[in-house]
Symmetry: none
Subunit: 211 residues, 2 copies
DNA sequence: GGGAATATTCCC
DNA sequence: GGGAATATTCCC
């Protein structure tokens, strides 16, 4: 009889084996480029949250820590923070890049006297709220107000065009996906045929022997 | 007393002291984010060029090198290249990220048999040509031509729209065809599986009879 | 603080 | 290969 496992084996063509994805430093953090639709918070937020939490148990609270109430965090020593903490959690050691990210995610600096940053949804013990924090988006094609004035007709037309381009983009994406599906199907067909052929041979031999 | 070096380090927010930007090998490379208007080539290109040139003098040609004519370069050992070279010149060690960049800058893969990449303006001994290589831009805005005068602009726009609609229509047609192909493939699969299954049964019976 | 360019990642 | 999201850098 045909080994079932052989048949099953070939059906798993569509799986995404991303194992070749080498992320160094053994971090279990999410990766850049992940779709924001997923519940998973941005890597930056997870890393920042985790470095605070992991800092609690170590001797790191003199460098960075939650504030008294856990409603914000304070970088007590930017130099050490950059050299040790940033280097450990991120791909750089520039304090200003870290701050750029904080701003991107809507954090506010609380005091001019110390590096204290706050965000509604970024609080001690509330890791689950991180996924509610969104990047500020960069207003892809908002045109300056003074150019908008020409007429509403123009605006409508431009809007139309925008929609068309959107649809166009989606169609191209769909096309790619369909094409890939077809490729998979074809590959599967080839495997099935090979499997069938091999089985026929095997059986033929068996029968011949039995005769 | 407070260590001065610690204090100084913290002030580097506004000014661009990228000295803490640890890219090994004492590089004089430009940095990301620099304006493309400047004559300076993209950091990625400089780094890639330099790693080839610096490799010449060392024992690195077995990992990566120019090809015979110096018209392209070959990564002979992607594993070592990633671990050793990428890690040294970039902020990662993913070969696929490197390739993504090559594609962004318009390099072409020359052979399916080895990792050879070519770009018109990327050749041995021609460091000065690097500044002529441009990133492929990503369709920055829906309407790149705001600043044109509206009279001739209108015609262009209408023409654009027409083209868009045309493309759109074709894409939808293509989609339908692809979908039909998929349906056929699936039907064929089912038939093949049925065929296989039936054949198995028949043979089983035959063999049982012969035993 | 944020705009914009380049870099890196993930995905199709 | 390339689209698109996030990350990092540079600049105002």
């Amino acid at each position: 009889m045909v080994d079932n496992s052989v048949l099953e084996l070939n059906l798993g063509l569509g799986n995404n084996n991303n194992n070749n994805n080498v992320v160094v430093g053994g971090d279990a953090h999410a990766h850049a480029g992940q779709s924001p639709r997923q519940r998973c918070p941005a890597p930056f937020l997870l890393k920042t949250y985790d470095l605070l939490e992991e800092g609690e148990s170590e001797d790191m609270t003199r460098i960075v820590s939650w504030n008294e109430e856990g409603s914000a965090f304070v970088v007590w020593s930017p130099a050490e923070f950059s050299e040790h903490t940033l280097r450990r959690y991120f791909k750089h050691n520039n304090f200003s890049s870290f701050i750029r990210q904080l701003n991107t995610y809507g954090f506010k600096k609380m005091s001019s006297k110390r590096w204290e940053f706050k965000h509604e949804k970024f609080q001690r013990g509330c890791r689950h709220m991180l996924s509610e924090i969104r990047r500020k988006k960069c207003e892809p094609s908002v045109f300056p107000a003074y150019l908008k004035s020409s007429s509403e007709e123009n605006a409508t037309e431009e809007n139309n065009q925008q929609l068309l381009m959107e649809e166009n983009k989606n169609l191209k994406k769909e096309r790619l996906e369909l094409q890939m599906q077809i490729d998979e199907c074809k590959a599967l067909e080839i495997k099935l045929l090979a499997c069938l052929s091999q089985f026929v041979d095997t059986q033929q031999t068996k029968i011949r022997r039995l005769c």
